[in-house]
């Protein structure tokens, strides 16, 4: 199967570790995958900010880069949700619309690709320690992603998962985080409270965007916090020395 890795913009520039972990997951499945050059942003910020037309160039670029793939996989539910909306954008020719709908149906978030598309639930991973798992809104409500990440984490040797479903949105919301920073921070605080109640400083989620927002809030408040993408648990970096659980630094920024 020709698999192409789709790298979210914030993974590309701010959290490449999540992308590398996703790459290791694909490796462990023995897949023939590549990462096309010339990727950009999926265009979601413009779409969510009320400028859907400005996501068109990104949609067309995405199609050019990925149309030849049999499956496109991304370590981000939110970006995949955007790709699946591409065919609804205004200004597309009918043939473009059809091609994008088809491509959207072949584009997967990582966990849903592994579990739902490939039928694999055990990647033979080992990660001793306790983590909390919280859902990201677009994963839950746009992709219907609930079981897949949980099943994958349940199979990880030595891992204790404190499952925290039914929490309110973390408050990232893309542009929302900077348009309503006060309420956004209040929402983040509630998620951090839940994390503290889970008795761990390590939060695992499917979207790095939410994790960056929560990490930023935690560091500002001087709270211990380590945010890991699901892939980082499923395919830990063999070269990295893992800090002991709870040893995460929490520098308060001035």
């Amino acid at each position: 199967m020709r698999v192409r890795l789709f790298v979210p913009c914030y993974v590309e520039h701010l959290k490449p570790a999540a992308g590398l972990a996703a790459a290791r997951v694909l490796d462990s499945l023995g897949l023939d995958w590549t990462c096309p050059d010339g990727q950009g942003c999926c265009g979601q910020p413009a779409f969510n900010a009320g400028h859907p037309d400005e996501a068109l160039p990104a949609a067309r670029r995405f199609r050019r880069l990925f149309d030849a793939a049999e499956a496109v996989v991304a370590p981000s539910a939110s970006c995949v949700a955007m790709v699946r909306r591409y065919h609804h954008l205004g200004g597309l020719a009918a043939s473009e619309r059809e091609a994008l709908a088809d491509l959207g149906a072949r584009t997967f978030e990582l966990c849903e690709f592994v579990v739902d598309r490939l039928g694999v639930t055990d990647l033979g991973a080992r990660w001793p320690g306790r983590v909390a798992f919280q859902d990201c809104c677009h994963a839950l409500r746009e992709l219907g992603l609930f079981d897949a990440p949980r099943r994958l984490l349940a199979a990880v040797d030595g891992l204790e998962v404190v499952d925290q479903p039914d929490l309110d949105c973390c408050g990232f919301g893309g542009v929302y985080a900077v348009k309503l920073p006060e309420v956004s921070a209040a929402q983040a605080d509630l998620r951090l409270d839940a994390l503290a109640a889970a008795g761990t400083d390590t939060l695992v989620a499917t979207d790095v965007s939410c994790l960056l927002h929560l990490e930023g809030r935690a560091r500002r408040r001087g709270l211990p916090f380590r945010g890991l993408h699901v892939a980082e648990i499923l395919a830990p970096d063999p070269a990295a020395a893992r800090p002991a659980p709870g040893a995460q630094t929490s520098e308060a920024t001035p």
Binding site: P16, P36, G40, G50, L180, A186
Partner: protein, 469 residues
Amino acid sequence: MRGNALAAYRRRAARALADATLRGNLRRATDTALAKRAARLAEIPDYDDWREKVAAIRRAGWEDRAALVARASAHLAAAGARVHHAADAAAARRIVAEIAADAGARLVVKGKSMLTEEIELTPHLEALGLEVLETDLGEFIVQLRGEMPSHITAPALHLNRRQVSRLFADRLGAAETEDPEELTLAARRHLRDKFLAADVGISGGNFVVAETGTLVTLENEGNIGLSTTLPRVHVALTGIEKCLPRLADLDPVLRLLPPNGTGQQAVSYVSLLNGPAPPGCGPEALHVVFVDNGRSALAASGQREILACLRCGACLNVCPVFRNAGGHSYGAVYPGPMGILLAPYLLGDATAGLNPGNSLADVCSLCEACGEVCPAAIPLPDLILGARAEKERRAPASRRLAWRLFGRLAASPRLFRAAGAMMRMSLRVLPAFLLARLTPSWSRARALPAPPPRSFRAELRRRHPGRLS
């Protein structure tokens, strides 16, 4: 709400977020509402089927509104009711004021009606010298406090028992107590004489059945019954989108509205009024006022599906923004997700400056929980995105240009790479205070991310160059 609606929201929200009592009240009340809703839904195994039925009925309610209102009006008139049609809030206020004046009214009692809040009826009648008394306990409480309701089904949701007790002690001379029954009794004692002395009773109309000309009111307290049977005149106001085509449509609607609205299996009282009371058995006159007040304009817009709203309040209870900053932050009687969509069209008069170009469509983190809970299956998240796009179409050219440039950047590999590299370098090189100055909206409450040494692409080139294509 003159000026920028979002800025006004943020000011009010900041105050609300600093109010620990308010936040505790909001959390407890909405958590309870959601828990009850979940328990009720678990009792309805074919919930999704009922939801589909409700969605279809409510869609007919606004699509066929002209024909349905005409049918309902004809039936009501034939039964002896006086039927009125008000194009806007001012017309509706005038109609009610005239009815009150013709009746020589001095005292008016009111059941809870969001429509009457929307058209600002009470201040108008009070300015004409009438005493207007809210009889719904929650509305009674906020009226005593001089506030607008903070939630569409639970007007005093922002208050706890201690606050209500203190209010009743101050304003009614009641003994302080935190027992809800005793608090209710204190209100009842105050209201009972008023019901008996009132000249006019005003109610809303949760629905009107077009097939039979039936006015439907729903309540738990019995105050609507008392308000609309004891006074000499009953005036009912209802929105033109509230018509249900058939009497049988009440079945699906009444199955889903109480669980979603108040976490009940059923409301305590469902009143079906098919016309005025027989002589000597109730009010001398029944007036029904169908109010447009922006609903036709909304029906012509991209957000028309919000007209299916049942006014249950479930979307408020589940909305993380509402749960944190409360209803008053919106500065409008319709708060939360449904409020974002209704307010620009229905409240333009009441909240000066609010319109589709100056709305609260940004007051939403796009979590989509609202769409999940809506019993009428209104696609609230998509409508909010649509309202946002509509707002942005009227945005200053500079902002539209900025997003045009973003769109180009997002699709241009070279620009994208360069922008990313510049961002990483800035995060690495610039002093913290300068970075914070450059990103105030992020940095006020959060640390900026630590930059990785290399981009993903650069890392992949180092470790697995064969995987690049």
